[in-house]
Symmetry: C2
Subunit: 458 residues, 2 copies
């Protein structure tokens, strides 16, 4: 193994850290559909969006044409604390699988937030700071995004108010505590602090909350104070832009060794990691310069690509956000509580939705007991204990590598290892003790929530 | 900041990974005192030690003369999964402190075990495997060493039996679960599975265990099956040898940029990180080639260097291990249960003890509320959430940097950031909520346990 020319980990130097984010939309013939006002059904103007989001981020959100956005020096300095992140050649996994495939993964878990979310958190916090704001509000489920944002805000001296889905707040006290180390205020959602929270609590007493509901509360809170704006860790075009750093670094590292992936695999919840990982590769594909198989992997318990509808929908339960055209299971869809593996959002990035709709990528849905099996197999040979989210991609990569074993093809597979599973050990324990079940919504479940799509779809 | 010539993180390439461990003892005029048989008071022979430890490791343990030990290729391959580890220039901390000091830290937390312990775990597991053993036994407190060993054993296909101090087993279920992901069996100690465990349970019903007791159980278990040997994560000479990789990489990284540290700081429990970090620097100091201030930082609640006695003592509570000459608080000393920051061993590496005795290094003891304060300050500017153990070194480094601010001296400080605090959030929560107290043993506490030193001291 040690004679191999390609090292276990390809590290770019800090000088090689990308100087600009890549905006995939610039190369799309069919642009993602615009955000619409829920009230009027008309496209949201910049001015309307600026009531919710930071000005500069709105510009990034609406810009479908500029291919490159320079990364400000301050953000690059922050990136240097944990980037460039390693691109790892999975020699040990290949040997374990006895596959002729060559497997690479981009590891985004080497920072305290434990995932790629920090890439966009620091960007969004930076633009809020530059706008002279006092702070930002957001929601978090298991807490990866909230942790990332609290780290970024603490670094910049910005206030950070996090609404954390109540069941996670209670069941995952450690993530909550990390946010507090970084000085964030963390409120269990639904809460009595917002109108939408009070309304939901009145309607569903004892509810343990949902991501969609926490979004509504965070948005309402930001709109009640001109010194605050709302920030979101996935789904939005701006987030895909910031996360392109993942793909740009991966491509630069592979290019150094003349390696071209055949298959690129990412897990998909709202799409932030997948969109970032595939960005420069998809760009080449869109421009007709190269071809890649691109696979989105989603949980069978929240299958927006594979069983959802491509339609305008609310991003939040409280319906205070604009409408986004995307693959959706309906804004009232809540994955089964026994689903442990994250990726719980009912919708999907509109950029990725358009690309999927146009046939530029595939999607598969996988069961959670299989992903934990893959996670454990991976951990034992590659050392890293993966996040359940990331393990969706691991499973798909293993499946592709096993197919190569059958056919003898020496394909090159690149997947995104978005984060570590250090805060997911309750789920690992469930898996070990045999308590974990596969939970798949029925057709009726999905039809019920899709029946509530907004009228704008006609 | 970005104009600075020295990057935020200095990464060596895989080719620059040290090819040999450095044995500090080779350069010591006064060698560490030999291990003695508790029964006879005579130095332990290789044959006697081989009943407990792997053959090759016994050779390393007893060799005070060979300066370099080649690192086998298989171990180097494993190291490549997470090494070379980054040497970080703490630009953000320097700015926060407004100090003229230049601060560097060697970060050993970028692996799933979360600390430097993996460096010796893979070495010890490798030699056990090469000896044709079925498995190894060990003890663990909070679980860092047990996790590291289970990762190493899983990689090599070796059985791993861990005795985990009972209070940690119950209060830290996540570390226990990580060990299970890696296939280890984990037994709360004291247990009914060993004679010494049964004896301690009979004598102290309801005891929550101690490290010294878990060591006794692990040793007894290994001696009951010829397919097993006992392995230990700190204190021993062999562990210092394996951990020299930390210092060798640090020195190679600094040498690349022509940087020479003035002060080198490491936390000290059993001494594995400190001994490893300082090894090549101390070597130069012993050979008269360079001078460095070397500072060991220990918890005020377990102050073996600063308040212990340099004497022969048992390494374990059950008194089944050989006697080691070291700074010790007495083998019956158990730090106050309110002490949260690790580094709980009553003794200290005999190599480091001899060096301290001979005046080659300093030691300071610090209070836990101060170390958590330093940990939080560090996390907020440098991003990484540090382990409480590592935060002892952070605090001492901050104190030295503040002294430089007063005097205007531009000293270069290197400290060891041994690991991450992701599994220490209960302690962080105690700190935040103001519940954490400083716990310092009285002179009477220490005199009481020192009164039980073995007779061999005369």
């Amino acid at each position: 193994m040690s004679e191999n020319k390609i090292p276990y980990k390809i590290y770019l130097s800090e000088d090689e850290l990308p100087k600009a984010w890549y905006n995939l939309r610039a190369d799309m013939k069919n642009k993602p559909a615009p955000l619409l006002s829920a009230a009027t059904g008309a496209p949201m103007s910049a001015a309307e969006l600026e009531a919710v989001f930071c000005k500069e981020l709105v510009a990034q959100e609406l810009d479908n044409d500029t291919p490159l956005f320079e990364i400000p020096r301050e953000i690059r300095d922050f990136y240097k604390m944990y980037r460039p992140s390693p691109l790892v050649r999975a020699y040990c996994l290949e040997e374990k699988l006895q596959t002729p495939a060559k497997i690479y993964y981009k590891f985004e878990g080497n920072n305290t937030s434990g995932s790629h979310k920090l890439n966009s958190a620091i960007a969004q916090a930076y633009y809020a700071k530059r706008q002279g704001l006092k702070g930002v509000t957001t929601e978090t489920g298991a807490g990866q995004w909230g942790t990332a944002l609290s780290m970024a805000c603490s670094y910049l001296g910005l206030d950070c108010k996090v609404f954390m889905v109540k069941c996670s707040y209670e069941q995952k006290p450690f993530r909550r505590e990390v946010m507090k180390v970084y000085g964030a205020s963390v409120t269990p959602s639904p809460s009595e602090t917002t109108e939408v929270g009070r309304r939901i609590l009145a309607q569903f007493p004892g509810t343990t909350g949902s991501l969609g509901c926490a979004i509504s509360e965070a948005v309402e809170t930001s709109m009640g104070d001109p010194g605050y704006r709302y920030v979101l860790g996935s789904v939005l075009n701006q987030v895909m832009l910031h996360q392109s750093i993942i793909g740009l670094e991966s491509k630069a590292a592979l290019d150094k060794y003349g390696v071209k992936p055949d298959i690129i695999i990412g897990c998909a919840g709202g799409g932030s990691n997948l969109g970032g990982l595939i960005a420069p590769f998809m760009g080449e594909k869109l421009r007709g310069e190269a071809d890649y198989r691109i696979i989105a992997v989603e949980p069978a318990s929240c299958p927006s690509f594979t069983r959802g509808k491509f339609a305008y929908d609310f991003c939040d339960t409280g319906m205070v956000c604009p409408l986004s055209k995307m693959y959706t299971l309906g804004s009232s869809f809540i994955p089964n509580a026994d689903h442990a593996g994250g990726l719980r959002f009912h919708g999907m990035s509109s950029t990725l939705s358009q690309l999927y709709h146009d046939g530029y990528m595939e999607a598969v849905a996988v069961n959670q007991t299989d992903i934990f099996q893959a996670a454990e197999e991976f951990a034992r040979v590659e050392g890293i204990l993966p996040a359940p989210e990331s393990s969706h991609a691991i499973l798909a990569a293993i499946n592709e590598a096993n197919r190569c074993k059958e056919t003898g093809e020496e394909k090159t597979i690149l997947f995104g290892l978005t984060g570590t599973g250090y805060f997911d050990l309750v789920a690992y324990e469930k898996f070990h003790s045999g308590v974990m079940k596969d939970v798949v919504p029925t057709d009726e479940d999905i039809a019920r929530s899709l029946a509530q799509l907004p009228e704008v779809n006609g």
